[in-house]
Symmetry: C2
Subunit: 160 residues, 2 copies
DNA sequence: AGTAATCCGATCTGCCCTATAGGAATAGCA
DNA sequence: TGCTATTCCTATAGGGCAGATCGGATTACT
């Protein structure tokens, strides 16, 4: 068994979400823009790498930036209107592709011809969690019902 | 935005599942072991790569192999008792890790301290689909209710 | 001007995904 | 015994990308 990465959450994505949560906190506190330096030191992220990620987030329209003295980054929308799915797509592209392609528009020979349905279900299942969970929700620890249900299932925290 | 792969289904995994479905079909038809060559040509997979994948599956105890003339591979258990999750783990290792680590036993600073709950929910959500979908189910096109529900939602097949 | 930021492009290292090659071991059959 | 089909094992290779860093250009506020 190779030590593959697929279906994992990358450092890039993890960093992006944590950075966004920092900005969400700043939005609540009504303090000004937050510098990359401030985020990096408080969340223990590599600064230059974080800069690149924030650049992606800005280009995707999720954050705004202010240059110069006392500049920094801020959420482009209220934290309650930004989902984790938005963040994932901004830094990683489309969710749950198969071999770099969309689950549909793949052609399978029987006996694998029902596979696309499963792949679509996998993607839909991810969307249900990521698209309905907002930065504000994570910040406050108030997650959607079915997300709480998923995470509080008896063996959800067990390795397998 | 970098063209990242994370949260994708790798070629390796896709091939593994398709190979397993071929073996499942052979199990139903009660024909003998299937050679890598036969699987490769019928599912259009690179033969040598497939061999390596089948090796993983054998080492994980999901398939048995017979050497020599008229040899090949066969499922080690009834197709109804092998889930896609089993296959994923055999070729990819644990599902939905975060930066190569398990979702729990990661430590986050506030304001990101509720993140592990979300990561666990993501993993649980994947498990719900992959662990309850069996090879026999995919083969027959008879998928678990909630998988069907996920895949038949209005926008499940749409890009986003 | 000075200072603190973002912004941009280049670069680097190493890993790992995908894939192939070559051959050794094994098993059935004529 | 040899022939053939097959798994099995090891090595290799290109290519890409993740993760990360550097240096400097640009912008903005005081």
């Amino acid at each position: 068994m190779g030590k593959n990465r697929p279906m994992d959450i990358s450092a890039r994505t993890d960093y992006a979400v944590r950075a966004m949560l920092s900005l969400a906190a700043a939005q609540v506190d009504r303090t000004g823009p937050v510098s990359a330096e401030a985020i990096a030191s408080r969340q223990a992220l590599p600064k230059k790498f974080l800069e690149a990620i924030l650049s992606d987030l800005r280009r995707s329209g999720l954050v705004t930036s202010t240059r110069g003295n006392a500049g920094g980054y801020a959420l482009a929308r209220p934290a309650a209107q930004i989902s984790l799915g938005d963040v994932f797509r901004a830094v990683d592209g489309p969710l749950a592709e198969v071999r770099g392609l969309r689950p549909h528009d793949m052609t399978y020979q029987p006996p694998a011809d029902h596979l696309p349905t499963v792949w679509v279900a996998v993607r839909a299942s991810l969307r249900r969690v990521l698209d309905e969970t907002t930065l504000a929700g994570v910040l406050a620890g108030e997650l959607p019902e079915h997300v709480v249900a998923l995470s509080s299932a008896p063996d959800a925290w067990r390795n397998r």
